[in-house]
């Protein structure tokens, strides 16, 4: 299993890796690649995708991974707390931006790229805006 499997899933990986000792990475990388290999093998409709498992998708060619704002939201915003926290809100764009900035700058959600933040923001404003129920 090669570290290549990280590619495309986490665009921030270089900066993250730079800060971490190599041995540590190696273990996680191995563990992750096995797992991700397995999971991808069963996507998207239960049919094994051998080629995907060997050659994971890049950001651009993996709409299910990177493009779906709902998935991005559910993935990143559930990392620390339940999704009920954001889902109970009814905020305008400026306030959602303020929340996002706090999550990234104060609470450590630094791995969410600016591009991902923008997508998540669009999603939040659309579904959890001031008029939402």
């Amino acid at each position: 299993m090669s570290e290549r499997r990280f590619c495309g899933l986490w665009p921030d990986r270089h900066s993250v890796r730079a800060a971490i000792p190599g041995g540590f990475i190696a273990v996680v990388a191995t563990a992750m690649s096995i797992l991700i290999g397995n999971a991808l093998a069963a996507e998207p409709n239960g049919r094994p995708h051998k080629s995907m498992a060997e050659n994971p998708p890049e950001v651009e060619t993996a709409p299910n991974v990177e493009a779906a704002p709902k998935k991005l939201f559910e993935t990143h915003c559930s990392a620390c707390h339940s999704l009920e926290l954001p889902r109970s809100q009814h905020l305008d764009r400026d306030t959602w931006r303020w929340v996002m900035d706090d999550m990234v700058n104060k609470y450590g959600a630094t791995w969410i790229t600016e591009k991902q933040q923008e997508r998540i923001l669009d999603y939040l404003v659309e579904h959890y805006g001031p008029q939402s129920q």
Partner: protein
């Protein structure tokens, strides 16, 4: 299957190395078994697990585990439909961190039972609290004192104690009534409790330690693991309030050891002030020679603008001031919202009123949208800072939709507003309580 078991073990080892708590490991195991099940099924669920894992891996890499963080997505199944032990019927705004309140009609008791006392957590619940295990717990009092103290629970409990009923209310209680909506847990009216607390007056501890002349403020420390890279939750109070007789370092709630969610084994009780002053899972009080300046004392956290700002605007940080006492407020606990009644029948109206550092002067009741009012019977509190109770009755001559309103006044003439004044994070909401009733012939 064998492969994924190995993965499980390897990742688990990593978590242990990175200081994940036993609780986190339990959650990890639960979710990993769930994950294998999903992987077996294939299809949609797998994608979600994979994504959850993505963010989780990032956190492992950043060494954020052991700071109380594990992807909640992994455990979504485990915490769904959260029922918090010992808090039946609680409206849970968020299971992680636990935040929940009770609807007003469940707060009818004169003294709030532990099972009905709200929970507002910024971080996670310490393992010690879950296990009700006092072993190894110590309270440190240091900073600007002549003789720092270190006390075990036993030593604390041997000191002379005091017992008071005390209102503890989350600074954000009432946030759901702000318009435009503001960020934060959407507390309606139930993030308040008035339970009976027993403990050592903080001033006795401070006197024993000997305050230096430059002592200005307290800084409270607890053992609740923070979430993500958030700093440990900490707030403090001015020395005057710390030396006030009713401010306690409490180890009993309603005659029992503290509930895990309410701060076991020891918490501060700062009656009448916003709840965040009443640090739970207390381990230390540091006396400072300046105003405490933790994350939750600065910026927009638990602070409001010095002057009223237009709704929906955010003034610069420099005009934000630290929140202290609550203001005049009341809660109708009977009848419940949307009660069905019959014409000509007497309906008992009951509730509580409280006023922070002030006293409650009167509570008025209206059933015609504030056109006419009648005074409710007011019962005095058990002690300073406890709930006043009010009783009245109303009846309706004709079929229809009505609202029962309650409006409390303090001794200074301050009263609850008809519309909620606005501030950027929705603190100190005290708009009058309106209870809908449906009347039929």
């Amino acid at each position: 299957m064998k492969k994924s078991l190995e993965v499980h073990d390897q990742l688990r080892e990593l978590l242990v190395e990175n200081g994940a708590s036993g609780d986190d490991l339990d959650r990890f195991d639960t979710v990993m078994s769930r994950r294998r099940f999903l992987a077996g099924l294939g299809g949609g669920g797998t994608a979600l697990s994979l994504f959850g894992f993505g963010a989780g891996a990032e956190m492992v890499l950043q060494g954020l585990f052991g700071r109380g963080m594990i992807p909640a997505a992994w455990a979504a199944e485990a915490v769904k439909a959260a029922q918090i032990e010992g808090k039946p019927g609680m409206i849970v705004h968020s299971p992680r961190p636990v935040n929940g309140e009770f609807p007003p009609h469940l707060l009818n008791d004169d003294v709030t039972p532990t099972k009905r006392h709200f929970v507002r957590n910024n971080g996670l619940v310490p393992q010690r609290a879950k296990e009700q295990n006092p072993q190894g717990w110590m309270l440190t009092i240091d900073g600007e004192v002549r003789q720092p103290l270190k006390l075990s629970l036993e030593e604390l409990m041997q000191m002379p104690s005091a017992t008071y009923q005390a209102c503890i209310e989350c600074g954000g209680n009432g946030r759901a009534n702000f318009n435009p909506p503001v960020r934060g847990n959407p507390w309606d009216r139930g993030a308040i409790g008035c339970s009976e607390w027993k403990g050592v007056p903080l001033r006795d501890l401070l006197q024993r330690a000997g305050l230096k002349d430059n002592a200005v403020y307290t800084a409270h420390e607890g053992e609740d693991p923070p979430i993500g890279a958030a700093p440990p939750f900490s707030r403090g109070i001015p020395i005057d309030k710390a030396m006030e007789a009713h401010t306690l370092v409490a180890y009993q709630m309603n005659g029992e050891p503290l509930h895990a969610m309410n701060g076991y084994p020891v918490r501060v009780v700062v009656p009448g002030w916003i709840g965040s002053a009443s640090q739970k899972w207390l381990t230390g009080i540091r006396i400072r020679d300046e105003v405490h300046d933790s994350e939750k004392m600065t910026g927009y956290s638990y602070r409001i603008p010095e002057y009223p700002v237009p709704p929906g605007t955010r003034p610069p940080e420099s005009v934000m001031k630290i929140l202290t006492a609550w203001q005049i407020k009341s809660l109708i606990t009977q009848p419940a919202a949307d009660t069905k009644a019959n014409t000509g029948k007497r309906i008992a109206v009951r509730g509580h009123a409280w006023a922070g550092e002030n006293t409650v002067d009167k509570v008025l009741i209206s059933t015609d949208y504030g056109v006419s009012w009648k005074a409710a019977k007011l019962t005095q509190p058990a002690n300073k800072y406890a709930w006043y109770h009010f009783d009245s009755d109303v009846s309706f001559d004709e079929k229809g939709y009505y609202e029962i309103w309650a409006r409390a006044f303090d001794q200074r003439g301050n009263a609850q507003p008809f519309r909620q004044p606005w501030n950027p994070k929705g603190y100190l909401g005290n708009v009058i309580h309106r209870v809908p009733v449906f009347v039929d012939v």
